[in-house]
């Protein structure tokens, strides 16, 4: 962490003076329309740096002043930080914009040329912080993980492919991988199917919108929260005590024997998946319902005249027309499923053969001392599975938009 922070700070410091110099040179009256890309880069970095430094500095000063005058409790302290943070963001966008308009004023002899330059620069100023933060928190960790996956427990010694060799021979990794594939096959299919059914059926009834909000509601619950709810559904008490779990209550009502459902090998995987399907059906339903409504009414009427039954209209006219959307919903849930972690952690923590990759990675990284190398190797396996689906998903979604 420290190493990372210092390189970033160094980078910022290095670009500072160069960029500031570029800014000073600018106010010459006539500037060619196609400005030198290096100059523009310098200008962008300069303005970003100045704006970030000033905004951060002002925010810190204001914070220290207030903190010095009023002693604060943690709650007020936190609120103040949030408010100042948002204010600093506003100041950043406002300030960079203002600065750019000072350097290249949209008036005078060079107005047209200046506007051409500002049009090229402005997007980068506004995107700048996002690009920097994404780089810092997404791109850098990817490369760092890749690097660490070839190193030992502490991330010091280079060990070659030893971590990967261990991985492919590790029975628990195989179990996690197998379970992940199971999740991959069942959850997206289940959620999309139920979502499609819900979308099609709720469109046909008077209280459809009410039903839709009920089905959508689990989306608002965190995975951990949902797991707690479902724990009560699968809850098992010893054979002699009263069963408070919903399923065991039903089973005993019909005279069956109560079971500890989440310990039943293989089937407990399915029981965990049901939770995610329950959550994601709402998502699938909302997107697919919008797509179904987008279908031209006249094609359906044409099919009615052609003699198609409601079922044939659904499967032969409606579903093929929203196939692109179904694919996007499916893959979006697939990506989510590959990262599944919270539900398994809260329900079984990987016991009774329910381990999945994300939880297994978490185990190696944060439990029992931590193993940077092996945890990173597992993380990269997850990433390798997600990326192709993600690329396809983004392409498909773009195709849908145009």
């Amino acid at each position: 962490m420290e190493e990372r922070a210092s390189t970033i700070a160094g980078g910022l410091a290095a670009t500072g003076p160069v960029a500031a110099g570029a800014v000073k040179q600018k106010p010459v009256p006539v500037i060619p329309v196609r400005a030198n890309p290096l100059k523009i880069l310098g200008l962008v970095l300069g303005i970003i740096t100045i704006a970030i430094v000033i905004a951060t500095f002002v925010a810190l000063v204001v914070y220290s002043l207030i903190a010095a005058v009023f002693p604060m409790g943690p709650l007020i302290n936190a609120s103040l930080v949030v408010i100042l943070g948002v204010a600093a963001c506003f100041a950043y966008f406002f300030g960079t914009n203002w600065l750019l308009d000072r350097v290249y004023p949209a008036q005078g002899d060079a107005a047209v040329a200046n506007m051409a330059v500002t049009a090229q620069v402005r997007p980068w100023l506004f995107l700048g912080p996002a690009v920097v933060l994404l780089g810092l928190y997404l791109v850098y960790p990817v490369f760092n993980s890749l690097w660490l996956s070839f190193k030992d427990v502490n991330g010091r010694e280079f060990v070659g492919t030893a971590n990967y060799q261990w991985l492919f021979n590790d029975p628990e990794f195989r179990e996690s991988f197998f379970n992940n594939i199971l999740w991959l096959l069942i959850v997206p299919a289940g959620a999309t199917l139920f979502g499609l059914l819900a979308a099609a059926l709720t469109d046909r009834i008077a209280w459809g919108n009410f039903a839709k909000s009920l089905i959508f509601m689990p989306m608002a619950i965190s995975f951990i929260g949902a797991s707690v709810i479902w724990k009560f559904i699968y809850e098992y008490r010893g054979p002699d005590s009263e069963q408070i779990g919903l399923i065991n209550a039903i089973v005993t009502f019909f005279g069956g024997d109560p079971q500890a459902w989440i310990t039943v090998p293989f089937w407990n995987n399915i029981f965990l998946m049901i939770i995610l399907i329950w959550i994601q059906t709402g998502f699938a339903m909302v997107i697919l319902s919008a797509a179904l409504r987008g279908i031209s009414e006249e094609t359906i009427e044409a099919a009615v005249i052609d003699g198609a039954s409601p079922l044939q209209i659904f499967f032969k006219i409606k579903v093929p027309q929203i196939w692109g959307t179904i694919a996007v919903v499916w893959t979006t849930i697939t990506i989510l499923v590959l990262k599944v972690f919270d539900i398994v952690l809260a329900m079984t923590n990987g016991q009774w053969n329910t381990q999945v990759l994300a939880n297994y990675m978490f185990d190696w990284m944060f439990r029992g001392g931590g193993d940077y190398g092996r945890a990173s190797a597992i993380a990269l396996v997850i990433m390798a599975m997600v990326i192709p689906i993600m690329i396809w998903n983004i392409r498909e979604a773009r195709k849908d938009m145009t």
Binding site: S296, E298, A303, I305, G307, Q312, P320, W323
Partner: protein, 363 residues
């Protein structure tokens, strides 16, 4: 036996009645055009015939059989929609074959019918394409082809040309006329708000207004003998001029006095008891003559707008006491200025008289 019959047909949406009792008999092989302004109920009526809208009251017969409760697919109809309504995920061939596949026709039969329809419509080279790879005119032909494949007794068109550009519209209109010639047995019902389509295609035109049937007749009949003010003004472009007047003298030949005091003798017989009552005098822009010099004019006023179309010039002028400007069609072009005072006569033989209730006073 009539191909299609509407007996006192009504349509209501809840409390709102939109079709107010329509009687109509259509013969086999006739080309019927429903025409009327937007919201007159022509599309609703067509959709009721198709079975896409229920019939609130009255009876619809196709081929002598009551079909009110029959699903659309069994009524022996085919419909061409305004937006083509092609199935976007199917090729041209599959679009045309869909109905027959649903009906479980044999593949040979499907192939034969699709080929013959695509032959008629020159779609052979497009059979494997998706609709999105076709132009607007080609899509419309596929939609017609899909209808032909159903081999219907009654062909329904719902404003099929309104999504096409002007040149294509004319070309497709001619194609539809040819199609009708090649299918003399098939009855066609065609909805449009374009009176040129109505005049050129129809054997008989059905003029609708606000859910009422105004008049049914051959195109030239409607033009020459409109039954009421609405039809008189709806058929013909620019619309017929209507001037309020008084029936000065009734008889075999009626004398009509305009607000200006000018009188005209019209060869229309009127009842004695109507003498002195208010009537409307109608004459078409193309029956008017521009006069110059001292000759006595029937109507005159300042020019408010000149439309030079090349072969004709439309002259719009204001007449005192009439809210909308009147129009006269003069052949060729001319040197006209806005505000210029123009004088016209009109052919009394081609004038129309309408009573206070808007009905035509007959010759």
């Amino acid at each position: 036996m009539s191909a299609l019959q509407l007996n006192d047909v009504y349509k209501s949406y809840g409390e709102t009645e939109v079709i107010h009792g329509i009687d109509l008999e259509i013969d086999e092989g006739e080309f019927i055009v429903f025409v009327g302004p937007s919201g007159c109920g022509k599309s609703t009526l067509l959709r009721m015939i198709a079975g896409l809208e229920s019939i609130t009251a009255g009876e619809l017969q196709i081929g002598g059989e009551r079909v009110n409760e029959m699903p659309p697919s069994q009524r022996g109809i085919a419909m061409v929609f305004q937006s083509y309504a092609l199935y976007p995920h199917m090729t041209v061939y599959d679009n045309m074959a869909f109905g027959m596949r649903i009906a479980k026709a044999s593949p040979e039969e499907i192939d034969r019918r699709v080929r013959s329809a695509s032959e008629i419509l020159q779609l052979n080279e497009y059979l494997t394409r998706l609709p999105k790879a076709l132009s607007g005119g080609q899509r419309q032909r596929v939609a017609i082809g899909r209808a032909i494949c159903r081999d219907p007794k009654v062909f329904l068109f719902d404003e099929p040309l309104s999504n096409l550009d002007a040149a294509l519209r004319v070309a497709t209109r001619i194609e539809i006329a040819k199609l009708k010639e090649s299918m003399p047995e098939t009855t066609m019902i065609y909805v449009t708000h374009d009176q040129v389509e109505a005049m050129t295609l129809a054997d008989r035109i059905v003029v609708l207004s606000a859910g009422y049937l105004e008049q049914v007749g051959a195109p030239i009949d409607l033009y020459e003998r409109p039954a009421n003010l609405f039809v008189a003004q709806f058929i013909g472009s620019p619309a017929m001029n209507i001037v309020s007047a008084t029936l000065a003298k009734a008889g075999k030949i009626s004398t009509v006095r305009l607000a200006s005091g000018n009188e005209v003798k019209v060869p229309i017989a009127t009842d004695k008891e109507l003498e002195g009552t208010a009537v409307s005098l109608g004459f078409r822009p193309e029956d008017m003559t521009l006069i110059t010099g001292k000759a006595k004019a029937l109507i005159e006023g300042p020019l408010s707008l000149v439309e030079s179309l090349g072969e004709v010039t439309n002259l719009y002028f204001d007449l005192e006491g009439t809210p909308d400007p009147l129009v006269a069609k003069t052949p060729g072009t001319g040197d006209f200025k806005r505000g210029e005072h123009v004088k016209f006569t009109a052919d009394p033989d081609k004038m129309h008289l309408f009573g206070a209730d808007g009905r035509t006073l007959l010759r």
